[in-house]
């Protein structure tokens, strides 16, 4: 049912072969396969995490909107130029609370990927996000964003319509909101295109998600002029949820079901919903003054320099 990634099939195939050779099958084989899978997922390398984070069957923003939220109504358009399907958003209910949800959305097949541009937003996507954030602020609704993009789209027409301005403005707006903001990195957090909707009071990351200054491929191309060295870049650049947690950049890692988020939508959605909800419980206790001060310090105090 679930498609296997290359590194999974190689390992599981080996077990199957050995079992066949030893005359083992049925429940015993299933048990062995499951145990091995669990082990694999407990020890994913950074590059394997990238592959899991990009798994085509991994739950996307709209899946979480279906499984973790209720009453979602999609609002579309930037009121300026276009509606970008690479970003979805609108009001919804989470555990009885009205919230504004904004997420990057990949496509699952070619047709949908063309529509969603592989989750790579144009300027109008960020401007839609900004519009919804401001609306949320006006209604006193917390903002929950879901990050899942290889990066912002990089074409000449994006430059024409101000991709840089759109990203900068979206980050600035998110940082200035008078309502609590929670970001969940659900898959791939790629570069400024991801940060555009991730400058939140709380950043949560799924266990096997990644967050990078540039995709491993792009980093390898920039650093070594060879995008095939992406696995090396992934190792080198500290991109996993666990890395980010160790730097203090991420507030919580949300555990994924055994074998990854794509193997149990309801379970991972519940985990994401609960984590976001817990974060809101705390944030909603703060005065706006405290909220803004804490948010400021969260980003202002990122250190790692010498003086």
């Amino acid at each position: 049912m679930v498609s296997l990634l290359d590194f999974e099939s190689a390992e599981l195939e080996a077990i199957r072969k050995r079992a066949h050779r030893d005359g083992i099958g049925g429940e015993q084989l299933d048990g062995a396969l499951e145990a091995r899978l669990t082990e694999i997922y407990r020890n994913l390398t950074p590059w394997q995490k990238v592959q899991v984070a990009r798994h085509r069957e991994r739950p996307y923003a709209l899946d979480y909107l279906q499984w973790a939220f209720s009453d979602f109504v999609e609002l579309r358009g930037d009121r300026r130029y276009s509606d970008d399907r690479a970003i979805v958003g609108g009001p919804a209910t989470l555990n009885g609370r009205s919230v504004m949800v904004i997420g990057q959305q990949k496509g699952r097949d070619t047709r949908e990927n063309i529509q969603r541009n592989f989750g790579m937003a144009h300027p109008e996507g960020y401007r839609k996000a900004e519009r919804l954030m401001r609306q949320a602020e006006r209604f006193g609704m917390p903002v929950i964003t879901m990050v899942d993009t290889p990066g912002a789209n990089a074409g000449l027409t994006d430059e024409e319509r101000g991709q840089a301005e759109a990203i900068a403005s979206c980050i600035a707006t998110m940082l200035s909101l008078h309502v609590p903001t929670v970001t969940v990195v659900i898959g791939e957090g790629g570069s400024g295109g991801a940060l555009a909707i991730a400058a939140a009071d709380r950043i949560l990351m799924l266990e096997h998600s990644v967050f990078t200054v540039a995709s491993p491929e792009a980093a390898a191309a920039i650093l070594w002029r060879d995008s095939a060295k992406a696995p090396e870049a992934a190792e080198n650049m500290r991109i996993t949820a666990q890395d980010l947690r160790s730097f203090g950049l991420v507030d919580e890692i949300i555990p994924e079901p055994e074998g990854g988020a794509h193997r149990d939508y309801p379970a991972v959605a519940k985990a994401v919903g609960d984590a976001a909800n817990r974060a809101l419980d705390v944030l909603l206790e703060l005065s706006v003054e405290r909220l803004l001060e804490q948010r400021y310090r969260k980003y202002r105090d990122i250190s790692f320099f010498l003086e």
């Binding site: 009453d71 109504v73 009121r79 300026r80 209910t93 006006r138 006193g140 309502v179 003054e289």
Partner: protein
């Protein structure tokens, strides 16, 4: 079907209207020419079963479609225009025309409003009456719009406006233009009170109507196929000196260009409204305002 339909079985005089055949049993769709059985067409809320053309409906029909039965209570039904600039055209005075419009539309103005309920939730609702002077906005229209907004503020209710029509009313000159500022000033107060405003745009929605209150919904909903724009097709064709593509400035075109949040068929609008109102009204703006206050 809701009772009010029986009192208003047909609607009249819109440019693209369904043509009633002599026996009144059948009508013809102006878009696709399909022959439709009148009764069924009524039950389909005047949406063509073949091409889904959403014909214009009267203000009262719109209210019946949108609100819980019997929940509507109208305000300022008697308000009417005062012919501010003493306009005359081809020997006929605008004041005389107003009397005609009133008879034609069975309404004193191109807009009516009041309170009602949508799936049990209280709202202030205002709807356009196309039959009155093409749904254009004069001084009385603007006043009623502003009062509708103020009523929402006063009662802390969400606002739903169904907007359309030919824009500002030429026959009231600059006074009509100023209604754009008047309605937007009122809406700004609604905004400051963090009350939601849902705008539903129906065919056709033009000129200063679109360029003021209609486009400023927190949520903008458009009916399928509705022509919605700043300029009418004819004006754009003159400017461009070429024929417009069929879908230009339709609801679907606007959705693609980011101007409306959704294109929703007439039958589905009430449930979408109910869902939106539930979420927005459950939000807690007072907390926000309170805490922002602490900041100062």
């Amino acid at each position: 079907m809701k009772e009010i339909f029986k009192r208003h079985p047909r609607y009249a005089q819109a440019p693209q209207d369904f043509e009633a055949l002599p026996d009144n049993l059948w009508i013809r769709c102006p878009r696709c020419q399909e022959l439709l059985y009148s009764k069924e067409h009524e039950q389909a809320l005047y949406v063509c079963s073949k091409c889904k053309y959403h014909a214009s409906v009267s203000a009262r029909e719109r209210l019946a479609i949108t609100l819980d039965e019997g929940s509507f209570s109208e305000h300022d039904a008697g308000m009417r225009s005062a012919d501010p600039i003493g306009f005359r055209s081809s020997g006929e005075s605008y004041a005389d025309k107003l009397t005609k419009y009133t008879e034609q539309a069975d309404a004193n103005e191109a807009f009516l409003y009041g309170t009602g309920r949508i799936e049990g939730q209280d709202v202030v609702i205002g709807v356009i009456e196309f039959k009155f002077c093409g749904g254009t906005v004069g001084a009385a229209t603007g006043e009623k719009l502003a009062r509708a907004v103020e009523l929402a503020v006063e009662r802390r209710l969400p606002l739903v406006l169904v907007s359309g029509g030919g824009g500002m009313r030429m026959q009231e000159g600059i006074i009509s233009l100023m209604q754009m500022a008047k309605t937007l000033a009122a809406l700004d107060r609604l905004r400051e009170e963090s009350l939601p405003y849902i705008s539903i745009m129906v065919d056709p929605c033009l000129g200063g109507t679109t360029a003021s209150y209609a486009m400023m919904g927190d949520v903008n909903i458009a009916e399928p196929g509705a022509y919605i724009g700043f300029a009418g097709r004819r004006v754009i064709e003159q400017t461009m000196r070429q024929k417009l593509p069929q879908d230009a400035a339709t609801a679907e075109f606007l959705l693609q260009h980011g101007m409306v949040d959704m294109v929703t068929s007439r039958a589905e609008i009430p449930s979408v409204l109910a869902r939106l109102l539930k979420i927005y009204m459950a939000a807690n703006p007072s907390r926000e305002r309170h805490l922002v206050g602490q900041l100062a």
